[in-house]
C-alpha cells in the first residue's frame, strides 16, 4: 500500500480540503480500502463493545429478561411493555426527578460556578496560594472515585468530620447521610468534580487578552461589570462546552452515590443509574433495568448531539 506524495494534502493535514482525483473506479476503490485498513480494529472494537451494548439495550429493553432462571435464557419479546410500565411507575419518575436535581445543582450550578470562581481567583491570587489550592482541588479529582467516595462518606457520616466541626462551633450534629442524602451526594459531587471546570476555565481565561480588561478599567468598569460584560462573553464557548461535559459526566455518576448512600435511605438518593442497577441486579428485572438504562442513554445522547453541534465549527 505505497502511497505517492501527490495525493496527500501536504500543506495542512487538517482543515483544508484537497479532493482526490479519481483515476478509474477500481484502482480508486482499492486505494481507499488500503487506506481504511488501519481503521478497522478501532471500528471493530467500538462496534462490538460500544455500539453492541447500545443496540442490545434497545433490543433487551423490549424483552422480559431476568438475571437467572428460565427467562434469563429464553426471554420473551414483550414490545414496549417495559416502557409503559416505566412511564406509569412512581419510582421511575421520582428517580428521574432526583437525577434532574442532582445534575442541575451539582454539575450545572455547583461545579460550573465554583470552577469559574476558582479559575478567576487563581488568576488574581499570588502564586503560592493559587498553586496549593489548585493542587488540592485537582487532587480530589485525580484520585480514584472509590477512594473519594470513602473519604466523603467519612466526612458526612454521623460521627464524621463535618459534625465534629459543627459541634466545635456549638451546633448540634446532623445525620447527613440519612436526613439529607441528596444534599450530601450533591456536595460530594461538587467536591469531586469541580477541578474539571476549573481547568477548562483556567485555560479559557488565559486566552483573554489583558488589554481588554485594562481598557474597560480605564473606562471606569468595576470588577463585577468587567467579569459579566467582558470576560464571560469572551469565554462563552468554553462555558457552553463545559456545561455539556459536566452534565454528561454527572448523568453517569454511580460509584460516589453507591458508596455514600447506596441510593437510600429508601429511594431518596436513587438516581437513574442506581435505579437501573437495582432493578437488574437486586430485583433481577434485567429487561426493565435495561429500559431505564436506555432512557438515561437517550437523555445523554440528546446532550451529546447538542455538544457536537456546538463544537462543529472547530472540526470543520
Amino acid at each position: 500500500m505505497t502511497v505517492s506524495t501527490l495525493e496527500l494534502d501536504s500543506s495542512a493535514p487538517r482543515g483544508s480540503s484537497a479532493p482526490l482525483r479519481p483515476r478509474g473506479r477500481g484502482k480508486d476503490a482499492a486505494r481507499t480500502a488500503g487506506r481504511l485498513l488501519p481503521l478497522t480494529p478501532a471500528i471493530a472494537l467500538m462496534g462490538v463493545f460500544l455500539a453492541g451494548p447500545i443496540g442490545y439495550a434497545l433490543y433487551g429493553s423490549l424483552t422480559n429478561a431476568t438475571l437467572s432462571g428460565y427467562r434469563a435464557v429464553n426471554p420473551d419479546f414483550v414490545g414496549i411493555d417495559n416502557y409503559t410500565r416505566l412511564l406509569s411507575s412512581g419510582a421511575f419518575w421520582q428517580s428521574a426527578l432526583l437525577t434532574l436535581v442532582f445534575v442541575l445543582t451539582s454539575a450545572v450550578i455547583g461545579q460550573n460556578a465554583l470552577g469559574m470562581f476558582l479559575a478567576v481567583l487563581i488568576e488574581k491570587a499570588p502564586k503560592p496560594v493559587s498553586g496549593v489550592v489548585g493542587a488540592l482541588v485537582v487532587g480530589a479529582w485525580v484520585m480514584p472515585e472509590i477512594v473519594a467516595a470513602f473519604a466523603l462518606y467519612a466526612f458526612f457520616s454521623t460521627n464524621g468530620t463535618l459534625n465534629a466541626v459543627l459541634q466545635l462551633f456549638g451546633g448540634s450534629s446532623v445525620t447527613w447521610l440519612i436526613s439529607f442524602p441528596l444534599l450530601a451526594v450533591i456536595l460530594a459531587n461538587i467536591w469531586r468534580g469541580t477541578a474539571f471546570s476549573m481547568m477548562v476555565y483556567g485555560a479559557a481565561l488565559a486566552e483573554v487578552p489583558p488589554e481588554v480588561h485594562e481598557a474597560a478599567q480605564i473606562d471606569g468598569a468595576g470588577p463585577l461589570q468587567r467579569f459579566f460584560r467582558i470576560t464571560l462573553p469572551m469565554v462563552r464557548r468554553a462555558v457552553a462546552t463545559n456545561m455539556m461535559l459536566v452534565t454528561l459526566q454527572t448523568l453517569g455518576v454511580f460509584t460516589l452515590i453507591w458508596v455514600m448512600t447506596a441510593g437510600g435511605p429508601g429511594t431518596r438518593s436513587t438516581t437513574l443509574p442506581l435505579l437501573a442497577f437495582q432493578e437488574a441486579f437486586k430485583l433481577s428485572q434485567v429487561g426493565y433495568g435495561t429500559a431505564i438504562a436506555t432512557v438515561t442513554l437517550m437523555v445523554g445522547a440528546i446532550f451529546a448531539v447538542v455538544y457536537v453541534k456546538v463544537l462543529k465549527p472547530e472540526v470543520d
Binding site: 479532493p19 487506506r35 478501532a42 467500538m46 477512594v147 446532550f303 457536537v308
Partner: protein, 277 residues
C-alpha cells in the same frame, strides 16, 4: 501604573482569602485519608493521631488484600491502555493524513460516543457479556474498557499526528517505505510524548474505574483494587478506618505519580487544559 498597584494588592489579598476558605474544604477530606492511615485509632472524624504508626500499612500489605488486587488493577489498566494506544494510533493516522469523504462524519460519531454516559448502560453491557460468554473474563473486561476509552483516545491521537510535519514521511516514501512503515518508523517515534499522554490518561481512568469491573468480574481473584477495597471495607459492618485509609493511600499513589508525569510530559497541557501555578 502607580494608581493600580494598591488596588491590585487588595484584590490579591481578597482572592487569597477566598481561595484559602475553599481550599480548606477540599483539604479536609484529603487530609483525613493521610492522617487516618498513620493513626492507630482512626475514626471517621479527622483528628491528629496520638501516636504515629505504620501498623495499618503492614496489616493491609498481604497478598489477598493488596498485592493481588493491585496486580489485577495493573493488568486491567495496562492492558486497556496498550490496546487503546495501539488501535488509536492506527486509526488516527489515516484520519489525519488522508482527506476522505466520510472522515468528518466518522470523527463526529466518535466525538458523540466519547460523550455518552457509559456507566448508565452497564445493565445491557452485563446482559451482552452473558450472551457472549465473556462474563468474569479479564480479556473481555479489558476489551470493553478499551472500547469506551477509544473515542477520546482517537481524538487526542489525531491531534498529535496532525502536529507531526508531513515532510519527514515524504522522505521515507521516496525511499520506498509503505504508509505503515512510515507511521511506525517516522511518525510514532516523533510523537512519543503524545502517546505517553494518551497511555497515562487511559491507564488512570481504567485504574480508577469501579463500576465496570464490579459488574463484569465475579471471581475475587480477578478483581482489581477498586472492587476489592469496596468488598472488603464496604460490605464488612465494622470498618477498620485506619486500614481503609492505608489501602487508599497505596491505591492512589500510582495515579498521583502518573498525573504529575503527564503534567511534565505535556508541559502543563495535560488532560483538560492544565492548571495554572
Amino acid at each position: 501604573m502607580a494608581l493600580a498597584s494598591p488596588r491590585k494588592r487588595g484584590t490579591a489579598i481578597a482572592a487569597s482569602i477566598a481561595l484559602v476558605v475553599v481550599g480548606v474544604t477540599f483539604f479536609v477530606p484529603l487530609a483525613w485519608i493521610v492522617l487516618a492511615s498513620v493513626d492507630p485509632a482512626a475514626t471517621v472524624a479527622i483528628g491528629i493521631p496520638s501516636s504515629l504508626t505504620l501498623d495499618n500499612f503492614t496489616t493491609v500489605l498481604t497478598p489477598d488484600l493488596t498485592f493481588v488486587p493491585l496486580w489485577n488493577s495493573l493488568v486491567v489498566s495496562g492492558g486497556t491502555a496498550l490496546v487503546t494506544v495501539l488501535i488509536a494510533t492506527l486509526a488516527a493516522y489515516p484520519l489525519s493524513r488522508y482527506q476522505m469523504r466520510w472522515n468528518k462524519s466518522f470523527l463526529y460519531t466518535v466525538l458523540f460516543a466519547s460523550c455518552l454516559p457509559i456507566t448508565a448502560v452497564m445493565v445491557p453491557v452485563y446482559a451482552l457479556f452473558v450472551a457472549l460468554g465473556l462474563l468474569d473474563s479479564l480479556p473481555g473486561t479489558v476489551m470493553f474498557l478499551a472500547a469506551t476509552s477509544l473515542p477520546m483516545a482517537i481524538w487526542m491521537m489525531k491531534n498529535f499526528v496532525d502536529s507531526v510535519p508531513i515532510s519527514l514521511e515524504e522522505a521515507a516514501w521516496v525511499d520506498g517505505a509503505s504508509a505503515m512503515q512510515a507511521l511506525f518508523r517516522v511518525v510514532v517515534p516523533l510523537m512519543r510524548p503524545g502517546i505517553s499522554v494518551v497511555f497515562i490518561f487511559v491507564f488512570t481512568q481504567a485504574w480508577g474505574n469501579f463500576f465496570v469491573p464490579f459488574v463484569l468480574l465475579l471471581d475475587p481473584d480477578k478483581q482489581p483494587a477498586a472492587v476489592s477495597i469496596y468488598n472488603f471495607f464496604g460490605v464488612n459492618g465494622a470498618i477498620a478506618y485506619g486500614q481503609l485509609a492505608a489501602f487508599s493511600v497505596l491505591y492512589t499513589l500510582p495515579v498521583l505519580f502518573l498525573y504529575l508525569l503527564v503534567q511534565r510530559l505535556s508541559g502543563g497541557f495535560a488532560l483538560a487544559g492544565g492548571v495554572k501555578g
